[in-house]
Symmetry: C2
Subunit: 392 residues, 2 copies
C-alpha cells in the first residue's frame, strides 16, 4: 500500500502551541499578573435563545417515533436551504435552492471541494492567509502560487495578468488581516477569472461583520460571478456555531460555463462522501434566519464590533498602523519600531500582559505584523487597550 | 481549470429512484392496497431517552456563557473517546485514546480516509456491496478489483493469494447480505493483508447487531489486525443516529508497521479538513455508552432483531434460500424460480404489495437476489411475511 506522499510536504504548524507555551511560562513566572487574551479566533458569547429553543425542540422531536427523522438529504433540508435563499434575496442575490448546500462548516467544504478539481491545476493563494487553503492543496499535490498581500495594497491584492492560475482563493473580510474587498476589487477578480477559465473559491465566513452597506457581502453581488465562483459561508462567527457546526456553500449552476456541471459534481461528491448535517443542528441553524434569531445574533455581532472599534481607536491613538476592525472582527497591526511578529508578541506579553497572534504564523508576508481579535469580553478589551496605550 | 475527470466514470445509481417510481405508480393504480416497505435501510425507532436528555442538556449549556463551548478538538472530545475506549475494553480490545477519532458518520470517514492513500493503489472490493466503497475509489482514479461474494462462499469471500491488492474493503455484518465473518475468516484476511503490506478498511457499522458471542464485533479482536486495519463504526444503526450523525474510526498507531504513521496522517487530515462533530451531538453520543443508554439502545436493537427473526423464519417456511437476519438487520434472499432481482421486485409488489430492494443494485453478483430489512414496524413485518408465505 502506498501512502499519499504529499502529506509529508505539509509543514507542521507550531503557531498556537508555541503561543500556549510562551503564555504558560509567563503565567508561571508571574502568577500575580492578569493575562488578557486578544489572539483568540473563537467566539465567546453563547448561542442565542432562538437557536437554543430550536435545538431543544428538535431534540424532543427526535425522541418521539411520530416526529423522528432518520437520514436527511445530504445537501440539507429544504427548510434551511429556503431560509438561506431568502437571506440572499434580501441582499438582491437570487439563488436556486439546488445551488445551496448545507455543510458542517466552511472548513470542511473549502477542503472537500478540491475533490472536484484535477491535481494538475495551478492554485493562487493570498499571503498571508488562513492556512487551510495552502495545506489542503499541498495534500492534493497541486502547484501553488502566492499573491502578495501587503501594506502597499492594504492587504487586498488585485489580479496580475501575467500570472496564470486555475483556482483562486479569496477571503473577504479577510482572516487574518480583516481587510475587505470593495465591489470594484472583486469585479477585477471576477473579470480575471472569467478571462482565464479559472474558478474563485470565495470564503465569506465573516460576511456578517460587514457594517458598510457599500461593501459586497457575497461575491454573487458582482456581475458574472455566478459563472466563475463558489462561495463558502459559515454560522461559526455569524451565530456562535464554532462548536455547533453548520455552514453553507453556494455552487451556481452557471458554473457549467467552465465546461463541466460543477453543481452536479458537488452534489455527487456530497451524496457519495457525506451524509448531511444533524437534523437538530439544521433546526438550530434555521432559527438563526428568523426575525428573532437575526435580532439576537446582531446583538452579539454588535458587541464584538464595538470591541473591534475600541481596539482600532486605541491603536490609532497610539499611532499604530493597522487595517481591519471596521467590517471585520480581526485587526491587523504593524509591529512598532520594526519589531518582528514574535518579538512584538514577547514585548506585549511582558509589558502589557496581553496575548495576540504573530502575523508570521499566516505566511511570510505576515512577518512584522500582528493579529488581534474582537472576541474577548468588553471589560478585558478595554483593559488591554488601556495597557497598550500606556506602553506606546 | 481542469475538473477531476474521474467523476465522469461514476455511474448514476437509479436504484432507489426506480424503486420509488415503481411504488408510486403501483400505489396510484391501486389506491386500496396497503403497501408495506421492507426495503428501507434506515432506522424507524426514535432516539432513546438517555440521548434526548443529553442533547437537551447540552443545548442549554450552549446557551449559557459560563458553559458555552466553541471549537472543540477535531478528533473529538475526550469524554466521548473515553466512553468508546471503555466500550472496546469490555470486549477485550485495548485502544489508546489517540487511536479513536470521532466522526460525523462512518460514510464520511470511509470516503475521506482515501485522502491518505496514493492513487496508484489497487483496491479490492466485495461484490455485491455498499456502493460507497466503489464510487469513492472511482472518484479517486484507483484500479479496482472485485472479489466474488456468492452462494458458494455464503457471501463471505476469502483471500485469493493470486490477487495482489493494496486496499481491501470488508463489511461485516455485511450490507446488503447480512453475512458475518467468523474469527477464522477474518484471521485469513488479516494474514493476507500483513503478507502483502495491504491495509484493510473494516466497516463495522452493524457490529451491535451481532448476537452470537462467538463472532468478532471488531477486527481488532483478531491478532495482528492493529498492524493492517482501520475500523469504521457508526451510531446510525446502533443508536438511531442516522439523522443525528455521529460515528467513530479507530486508526491504530501500530499501522506504522506499514511504513508510514497512518494515525498521525489521519490526525493531520482531520485537523486540516474537518472541524469536529457538534458538541451537543457528542454529548448525545456519550449517553449511548452509559448503562441507561446501552439498555435503551439494546431494546431497539432487540426489536429490530425480532423482526429479522420473523422474516428469516417466514422465508425458511416458504423454502426461500437466504443468509443474514441472525446477526444483522439485513436478510439477503435468493429470488425463487430463477427470477431476476427486478422481476422479483415487481412480483412481490404486485402479489404481496411488499417492497424490498433488488440485489442487482449492489453489484452484478447481487443479480437474482433481494434484500429485506428488519427496520419496519413489528405489525408490518408480521403482515408482510404472512402475505409472502401465502404467495409461495
Amino acid at each position: 500500500m502506498l501512502v499519499n506522499k504529499n502529506f509529508f510536504n505539509v509543514s507542521e504548524s507550531y503557531l498556537f502551541s508555541t503561543i500556549a507555551k510562551k503564555v504558560n511560562e509567563f503565567a508561571a513566572k508571574h502568577p500575580d499578573k492578569k493575562i488578557i487574551r486578544m489572539g483568540i479566533g473563537d467566539v465567546t458569547r453563547p448561542l442565542c435563545p432562538a437557536v437554543v429553543g430550536a435545538l431543544k425542540r428538535a431534540a424532543l422531536e427526535m425522541g418521539d417515533a411520530a416526529t423522528f427523522r432518520g437520514y436527511g438529504p445530504e445537501q440539507g433540508y429544504d427548510f434551511l436551504r429556503t431560509a438561506i435563499k431568502d437571506y440572499y434575496l434580501r441582499r438582491g442575490v437570487e439563488l436556486e435552492l439546488e445551488e445551496i448546500f448545507i455543510s458542517d462548516g466552511a472548513k470542511s467544504d473549502i477542503a472537500n471541494i478540491l475533490d472536484l478539481f484535477a491535481a494538475e491545476n495551478t492554485v493562487l493563494i493570498p499571503n498571508p492567509v488562513y492556512p487551510v487553503y495552502l495545506d489542503t492543496n499541498i495534500m492534493g499535490g497541486r502547484k501553488i502560487l502566492f499573491m502578495d498581500a501587503n501594506e502597499q495594497n492594504l492587504f487586498l491584492p488585485l489580479p496580475d495578468r501575467s500570472v496564470k492560475a486555475d483556482i483562486i482563493y479569496i477571503c473577504s473580510p479577510n482572516n487574518p488581516t480583516g481587510a475587505v474587498y470593495d465591489t470594484e476589487g472583486l469585479k477585477k477578480w471576477v473579470d480575471y477569472a472569467r478571462g482565464n477559465g479559472a474558478i474563485i473559491l470565495f470564503d465569506a465566513a465573516y460576511e456578517a461583520y460587514i457594517k458598510d452597506d457599500g461593501l459586497p457581502r457575497s461575491i454573487f453581488e458582482i456581475e458574472g460571478a455566478e459563472e466563475c465562483a463558489i462561495e463558502f459561508c459559515s454560522l461559526s462567527k455569524t451565530a456562535g456555531f464554532t462548536g455547533t457546526r453548520c455552514g453553507y456553500t453556494v455552487v451556481p449552476k452557471a458554473l457549467s460555463k467552465l465546461g463541466a456541471d460543477i453543481n452536479k459534481m458537488w452534489l455527487r461528491r456530497q451524496t457519495t462522501k457525506f451524509n448531511g448535517v444533524a437534523y437538530i443542528v439544521q433546526r438550530g441553524a434555521e432559527a438563526v434566519f428568523t426575525p428573532d434569531g437575526q435580532r439576537q445574533i446582531r446583538e452579539s455581532i454588535g458587541y464584538y464590533m464595538e470591541n473591534a472599534g475600541i481596539i482600532s481607536s486605541a491603536l490609532s491613538e497610539a499611532g499604530v498602523w493597522h487595517v481591519g476592525g471596521k467590517n471585520s472582527p480581526y485587526i491587523w497591526l504593524k509591529c512598532p519600531d520594526g519589531m518582528s511578529s514574535w518579538n512584538f508578541f514577547d514585548y506585549l506579553l511582558e509589558k502589557a500582559n496581553v496575548v495576540g497572534t504573530p502575523g508570521s504564523g499566516f505566511g511570510k508576508n505576515g512577518e512584522g505584523y500582528f493579529r488581534m481579535t474582537a472576541f474577548a469580553s468588553r471589560e478585558n478589551t478595554i483593559e488591554a487597550m488601556e495597557r497598550i496605550k500606556k506602553i506606546f
